[in-house]
Symmetry: C2
Subunit: 162 residues, 2 copies
């Protein structure tokens, strides 16, 4: 397996919703690919609409096909695929056979789960978490939504004023 | 000038705000580059925050540095630069010396202005407008904002209900 890495570059798997693209996403994906070293190939799993709705209680603003196409149009991304509806990471791991799984900075529980899974099965997969990029605002899809709603509220109160 | 195009590919200039990236942006930029033929180089001017505020009456959600960096992280884009604050396309044209200027589908007036400018000066620049991509929703930054505000209003009325 070590030799394989030298020849063709490691396969890195990253994942997320990628609704309302901001610089934090680019930062995450760039560092995810970097975690695979030279000639790494970055494959990104984009969460299905139904998965997002189930986990976050609301639909994404952009539909899954658009989110996938936008992620795949980024220079740093080699391939973007839609996840399974039940977001079973293990099915994806079996299919992709990554050398590295690079998670977002806040995926602490998922990191623990994956490390346990990999250890139990004796798989040669490195699990890493990428540091947060927080020097630029807005740096999350929820802060983008918040900013839009605040601008709308401020507009409404200006319109109501005599 | 014809020979130059064969050797190094044409330089295509595109422009926009690119706040809240959606698939319409990718469509526009892909077709803009295509308008330059084989080996074209796509340079994108990203509008300054102050220009957007002056023309549209509100600030973009994402600041100009983020918008520029996100546009430059797209595969189809070779270079993204911030515009001049007064959005003087003519200064940009003098600097970049494009072979083609590819405008968004709705830039009808700008197309007329640029065609007149190019004709008056006898410049060898082709001005094209790219067709709209409207088969996927949301396909504009304003429809993204609308969707977020509607979801917020619907949430508010659910919270108020007994």
């Amino acid at each position: 397996m070590e030799g394989r890495g030298k020849k063709r570059g490691k396969i890195v798997l990253a994942e997320g919703t990628f609704d309302l693209l901001h610089y934090g996403h680019i930062h995450y994906l760039t560092n995810a690919k970097r975690a695979g070293g030279k000639n790494a190939k970055l494959i990104v799993i984009v969460a299905r609409d139904k998965t997002v709705e189930r986990l976050k209680g609301r639909k994404p603003v952009l539909p899954e096909d658009q989110r996938r196409a936008i992620v795949e149009s980024l220079k740093v991304v080699d391939e973007a695929i839609l996840g399974y509806e039940d977001m079973d990471m293990y099915k994806v791991i079996e299919k992709i056979k990554p050398d590295v799984i690079a998670l977002g900075y806040d995926k602490i529980n998922l990191e623990k789960e994956l490390k346990r899974y990999v250890k139990e099965r004796g798989l040669n997969i490195e699990i890493v978490r990428v540091s947060k990029f927080d020097s630029i605002e807005p740096n999350s899809s929820s802060s983008i939504r918040k900013k839009i709603i605040e601008a709308y509220q401020s507009q409404m109160s200006r319109d109501k004023a005599p």
